[in-house]
């Protein structure tokens, strides 16, 4: 009997792969050794690395290049499988396809069946053509994918978990060498060579200004480059500069380099068309659709804005300070606004509190801790207390959840003053969130929480002439 002899994988293929994926040669070689049936095939292998480091690309390319009669492979993406059964059947189906198995893959509900089916196909078969199979299934599971909770227990006891060659992220110096996916078309009135030179320097600049500092992955760099490139070469196309004046071009394009919207998917996707009308049910004079904050302010009716503000106050002020803040009754203590000097020094800046005397640790601004839940009744009380002050023109009273004009019931004003309707609107917009299930929306004892950020609320407040900061305890 002759022993199959150890052979290293084909050098030529590896070299090609290594060229295709620069800076990954050691990993490629190790992987090839560990995957090739004639080298040192391992039973399982975890390849890890942060995103966009080439794990999938390399594995796929490598397997494709190694694929032959003695090594078949199939790729299963476990994220695409919703349930455990889905996963099992996908595996069986794909393996069957890779082996050109004739029988229809059967149902497969449990691990036990999975092992049976796989061993049927892979272990016990004597193919007529003497075909020896070995299987490589690559899963790319997210570590916390729910599927893994479905699996009864760790499937393979870890004795042969073959830990992975790490794929370090691209290094700054290397990234310049990396062939960027899109070599740009030559700019008019320059030679291709000049364009290429310019491009490589440009990529370097983009990397320094954006990628390294904020978003360090190849895809984001690619995207930023492709977005910036037209703006960058604008002076060249307009013939005010030539391709050789790189530094001047950079200076000209500095504004764009500093524009962080390049990295921000939300803004880069929707360049604001200035005249787009808001398709909301609420009739609003379409103001300039500037940014989201003012959007919200303009979208909401006044009552709703007041409600939202008072909800914010209710969420962010401790209950015990309500009396001081909102009561007009003279109880001997001075009514305070804009923070208690004894407790906190600054309210305005980012830093919420200064140090309390004696305490070692800085206090965290309450508003940073997020919204607390409040009782609906309290919010309504605050609303009632504050309304007169915020909206002096309105001298209405609240009764039974309806804003009632002083002069008498049934008088015109009541139409859109239904507070509960406003609350319902806010809730449907998810600006107010009910905490805890159950209970009627109108339940005065129900708990709510405001769900908009400080920036939004500040803008909202200003839109109705209220500085919300003055009403916050800290």
């Amino acid at each position: 009997m002759t022993v199959p002899i150890f052979e290293l994988p084909d050098e030529l293929r590896l070299t090609l792969l290594a060229k295709e994926f620069p800076c990954r040669e050691p990993q490629i070689r190790a992987l090839a050794t560990l995957l090739n049936p004639s080298a040192a095939p391992c039973r399982n292998l975890v390849v890890y690395g942060t995103e966009a480091t080439g794990k999938t690309a390399i594995i796929t390319a490598l397997l494709a290049s190694l694929d032959n009669a003695s090594l078949r492979h199939t790729i299963v993406n476990s994220i695409e499988c919703i349930t455990a059964r889905h996963l099992y059947e996908t595996v069986v189906g794909k393996v069957a396809a890779a082996l050109e198995w004739e029988a229809v893959p059967p149902r497969c509900e449990s691990v036990s069946q999975l092992t049976v089916e796989l061993s049927k196909m892979l272990k016990y078969t004597e193919r007529p053509d003497g075909f020896r199979t070995s299987k490589t299934i690559r899963d790319h599971p997210l570590p916390h994918h729910p599927l893994h909770r479905h699996l009864p227990t760790p499937q393979q006891p870890p004795h042969h978990l073959r830990p992975p060659p790490p794929l370090p992220n691209l290094h700054q110096t290397r990234i310049h060498l990396h062939p960027l996916p899109n070599p740009p078309p030559a700019i008019p009135n320059t030679t291709p060579q000049e364009t290429l030179d310019l491009w490589s320097r440009f990529v370097g600049a983009v990397h320094d200004s954006l990628s390294r500092s904020a978003s360090r992955s190849l895809p984001s760099l690619t995207q930023a480059c492709s977005t910036l490139w037209p703006k960058f070469i604008l002076p060249i196309t307009q013939r005010t500069h030539t391709a050789k004046e790189f530094s001047k071009l950079v200076v000209l394009a500095r504004v764009h380099f500093q524009d962080e919207s390049l990295l921000d998917p939300t803004l880069s996707l929707s360049p604001p068309p200035p005249s787009s009308t808001t398709t909301t049910t609420i009739n609003i004079p379409t103001a300039k659709p500037a940014n989201k904050t003012t959007d919200l302010a303009t979208l909401l009716p006044t009552t709703a804005r007041f409600l939202l503000l008072s909800a914010y106050l209710a969420s962010h002020n401790p209950t015990k300070t309500d009396l001081t803040l909102f009561s007009t009754f003279h109880h001997g203590r001075k009514r305070r606004r804009g923070g208690f000097s004894g407790m906190t020094g600054v309210t305005g800046g980012g830093r919420g509190g200064s140090r309390k005397n004696g305490s070692q640790h800085r206090k965290i601004a309450r508003k940073l801790l997020g919204a607390h839940a409040f009782v609906l009744e309290r919010m309504l009380a605050i609303f009632a207390a504050v309304r007169a002050e915020w909206d002096p023109g309105c001298r209405a009273k609240i009764r039974n959840g309806m804003v009632v004009n002083n002069k008498g019931e049934g008088d015109g004003n009541g139409v859109d003053n239904d507070i509960y309707m406003s609350i319902a609107t806010l809730a449907s917009l998810r600006l107010l969130v009910k905490v805890g299930g159950g209970g009627d929306v109108c339940d005065l004892g129900g708990k709510w929480r405001v769900a908009c950020s400080w920036e939004v609320v500040r803008g909202l407040g200003r839109s109705v002439g209220v500085e919300v900061e003055e009403w916050l305890v800290e």
Binding site: V3, F6, P158, H160, A371, H372, V433
Partner: protein, 835 residues
């Protein structure tokens, strides 16, 4: 130690260089003569071993010889005298061990004379020569080990050494032998290639001898020329004489002086002596420029020219080539010269000159020594070497990767017990049950499977094996179905039956019937009933969690009641597994246990691990190794010796082994680290190095998440640091994005104020404050990478509707760990330090 002679360290290096130089200079010396010399030198070490001086070095000398070999190979072709042996490589290595005989054959009597005389006359000189060798070996060792290709190596050396030659020439000139020397040069040019290899080791000797003869009192300089004139005939005899006279001192001095320019090992250690060196330098340079130009370029300015006053220097440790000016060396040091890196490394290790000497030879920071030792081994001359090696790799790799079972070690008692139980079931028809208990990786499955395979050798057709696994067969229904299937029932047939509960009961019933009344059902299932069945139940404890433990109850019941000859062998890691059995199940269990333990001592551990690196004699056939192939026993002797040496002598391997023994005792984990080194062996470099050098890809799992910090952008890191600071500054263990961003922006604004005041704002970059949206993305990335884990605290933040801002997270990294794990820029580093 300051005197050269005694300092072995200095001498060896010098000798090396000079040797090389000489080779090139002396055309006359045919390769054969060179070879002779080499041999002589080698032999001498052996003889000299007695000499008290160079104990430590001798050890290293052996390696040296091996090292030389690769270098020589290329030149062998050119050697004027055809040598009988086809493979230079194999030949060379052998020489040291093979001793003079081979040499003698090749060469006329002169060699022998030389040898003998050398031995007799001067022990001290021999010592020095050996030392040289060692030093050289050290330097070249790393290269040799890594690069399989001999050719490049040789060339490299040749290139690297040129400076050495020149010194000598210069010396010659000084002595007044100028004319002769020129002749030598011309010769050298013609024959350089040939002689290069050979000379290294023996050169020094030859030189000294010559020198002694001609210009005894003077320093080394004149040596070359005279020798050349002497040609082949004269030098031998003289050499010996010279030694006797006291060439030692001169020699040492010369060597140092000459060696300096190119490679010198221990500049620090050796430095003190040679006054002669400076003079030599000037002249060396002239010569250097011509030869060096074509070869080595400066690593700093990447220009190849080497002029007077700005020569190219070669580090004696790493062979780096640098211009004098580029590295700021005003004068060429007399002794060895090291580049900055190597100097630092050395300084750490060198406390005194004495140590230097030792370092060179044997224990140069531990590492070198091992390298040397490994490289020292010669390529064995074994027929079919490649084939043997490849077969070995196949077997060992399969073992390391877990595709072949390795033998059980040190568990004989357990094995006997299990074997007996299984055998009795099969032979005597007993019903048995047993539990095998032991930690993960201690060999439970190996034990059971080897018992099964051993038993089946004798009783092949007499029993069935049913294998169940608690991980796979998660309830009794599945397990039962699997039993049916493995007993020869087709699963597809059973599907319909088993899916209905009633049929499940039926299955159970029929299985029970099948097992309990063999005689009755015999006609329908003859094949099954007449045989014993061995149930191997992996993860036995999980079966105890199944409802009412029906399966276990029935199996144990059958086994105990002797209804049928079955053996139930459970494998588990839980020592208290019996406690989890119901009373009725427990009472039917035979309470036989086998405990396996992990290796208790390092030798025991190694005994197990050894299986992954070597194949025992008795297993050869089982593993399919062709024992009839020529060279089988020689190869295995060689291989096993190497493995033993790895374990006994190689400190790095020992440490490696110990760390695994101390931390996990996991054999498979250790063998995993052997996979890539094993796969990397080739016929040209069949020397196993474990653990693999740190530059290569490691198969170890990452220690922690910290390795991901490297791939984070500055913004990611800033947020991470800000969040980590809050932990300390604000004394909260949970953070949300709002808090972290707030901290980040306040830190940033402080930073901006500072830099603005100091005018650094111009530099920009570091002080850019990113907007909330971008920071939000960065925060989400940290979450995705698992550096932030959700805080499970109830109440706010967990509702999921509160958005990014207020959801609370826990940081998986501590502030102190961040600077250690990643290189931070100055600003971020300060944030980590200043709370």
């Amino acid at each position: 130690m300051t005197t050269r002679k005694t300092t072995a360290a200095a001498a060896p290096a010098a000798g090396k260089k000079r040797a090389r130089a000489q080779n090139e200079d002396e055309p006359d010396l045919s390769s054969t003569t060179a070879a002779k010399k080499a041999r002589v030198s080698k032999k001498i070490p052996a003889t000299a071993t007695n000499a008290t001086k160079s104990r430590g070095h001798r050890v290293a000398s052996a390696p040296a010889s091996a090292v030389n070999k690769p270098v020589e190979i290329p030149e062998s072709d050119e050697e004027p005298q055809p040598q009988p042996k086809p493979l230079t490589a194999t030949k060379k290595p052998r020489q040291p061990s093979g001793k003079q005989k081979t040499n003698i054959y090749d060469f006329p009597a002169s060699d022998e004379d030389e040898l003998s005389s050398a031995e007799v006359t001067t022990t001290t000189t021999t010592v020095t020569t050996t030392k040289r060798k060692t030093s050289k070996s050290v330097t070249s060792a790393p290269r040799g080990g890594k690069e399989n290709v001999d050719g490049p190596l040789a060339e490299k050396k040749r290139r690297g050494r040129p400076p050495n030659k020149q010194p000598k020439k210069a010396a010659a000139l000084q002595n007044g032998n100028g004319n002769v020397e020129s002749g030598a040069d011309s010769d050298a040019t013609s024959t350089t290639a040939v002689s290069l290899v050979v000379p290294k080791t023996r050169k020094p000797k030859a030189v000294t001898s010559l020198r002694g003869g001609e210009a005894p009192a003077q320093v080394p300089k004149g040596i070359l020329t005279p020798r050349k004139g002497q040609g082949l005939d004269g030098k031998r005899g003289k050499k010996n004489v010279v030694f006797a006279k006291g060439g030692d001192e001169d020699e040492a001095g010369d060597e140092e002086g000459e060696t300096t320019p190119t490679k010198s090992r221990g500049k620090h250690g050796l430095g003190p002596d040679g006054a002669a060196a400076p003079e030599a330098e000037d002249e060396e340079e002239e010569g250097d420029s011509e030869e060096e130009e074509d070869d080595e370029v400066c690593t700093v300015c990447s220009k190849p020219d080497s002029k007077k006053g700005n020569q190219i220097l070669f580090c004696d440790s790493c062979d780096m080539a640098v211009h004098q000016k580029c590295c700021g060396v005003a004068r060429i040091p007399r002794g060895d010269w090291f580049c900055k890196d190597c100097t630092e490394k050395r300084m750490a290790g060198l406390l005194s000159v004495a140590e230097t000497a030792k370092d060179r030879g044997a224990s140069f920071q531990g590492k070198k020594a091992t390298v040397v030792a490994q490289v020292a081994e010669e390529l064995p001359d074994i027929p079919n070497f490649e084939q043997h090696l490849r077969m070995t790799q196949r077997v060992l790799l399969d073992r390391c990767a877990g595709r072949r079972r390795i033998k059980l070690r040190g568990q004989n008692e357990a094995y006997e017990k299990t074997y007996q139980l299984v055998e009795q079931t099969i032979v005597a028809g007993e019903g048995n049950s047993m539990l095998v208990i032991g930690a993960r990786g201690c060999g439970k499955t190996t034990l059971v499977e080897s018992v099964i395979s051993d038993v089946s050798k004798q009783h092949k057709e007499e029993f069935h094996v049913v294998r169940l696994n608690g991980f796979i067969h998660t309830d009794d229904k599945l397990a039962l179905r699997e039993i049916w299937r493995q007993l020869g029932k087709e699963m597809a047939v059973e599907d319909d039956l088993v899916n209905k509960t009633s049929n499940y009961a039926d299955t159970m019933a029929s299985l029970l019937a099948l097992l309990s009344h063999p005689s009755e059902i015999a006609e329908s299932h003859e094949g099954v009933t007449s045989k014993s069945i061995v149930f191997l139940i992996d993860e036995f404890d999980l079966f105890a969690t199944h409802a009412r433990q029906t399966l276990l109850y029935n199996l144990f019941d059958i086994a105990q009641a002797r209804k049928a000859p079955i053996a139930v062998v459970g494998l588990t890691t839980r020592i208290d597994v019996v406690e989890s059995l119901e009373k009725r199940v427990k009472s039917r269990f035979s309470h036989r246990y086998v405990y396996l333990s992990l290796p208790k001592s390092l030798p025991a551990f190694w005994d197990v691990c050894r299986q992954g690196l070597s194949v025992d004699e008795e297993d050869m056939e089982a593993e399919g190794i062709d024992e009839t192939l020529e060279g089988h026993s020689a190869f295995w002797k060689w291989w096993n010796d190497r493995i033993e040496a790895l374990y006994n002598k190689d400190q790095r391997f020992k440490d490696h082994l110990e760390s695994y023994f101390a931390s996990t005792k996991s054999v498979s984990a250790l063998l995993t680290t052997c996979v890539l080194p094993l796969a990397g062996l080739s016929p040209t470099s069949p020397f196993l190095r474990i653990p693999a050098p740190s530059t290569s890809v490691s198969l170890d799992p990452p220690d922690s998440k910290l390795h991901m910090l490297e791939s984070l952008s500055d913004l990611d890191l800033s947020l991470l640091i800000a969040a980590a600071r809050l932990d300390i500054v604000a004394h909260t263990d949970t953070v949300n994005f709002a808090m972290a961003y707030d901290e980040y922006s306040s830190l940033m604004s402080k930073q901006r104020v500072q830099t603005a005041s100091s005018g650094l704002l111009v530099l920009g970059g570091g002080t850019r404050v990113w907007g909330r949206n971008i920071a939000g993305m960065a925060w989400e990335r940290l979450v995705a990478l698992g550096l932030l884990v959700p805080a499970a605290s109830g109440g706010r933040g967990t509702a999921g509707l509160s958005g990014l801002d207020s959801k609370m997270w826990k940081l998986d990294v501590a502030l102190e760990e961040i600077p250690a794990a990643v290189k931070l820029n100055a600003v971020l580093a300060r944030w980590c330090k200043e709370i």
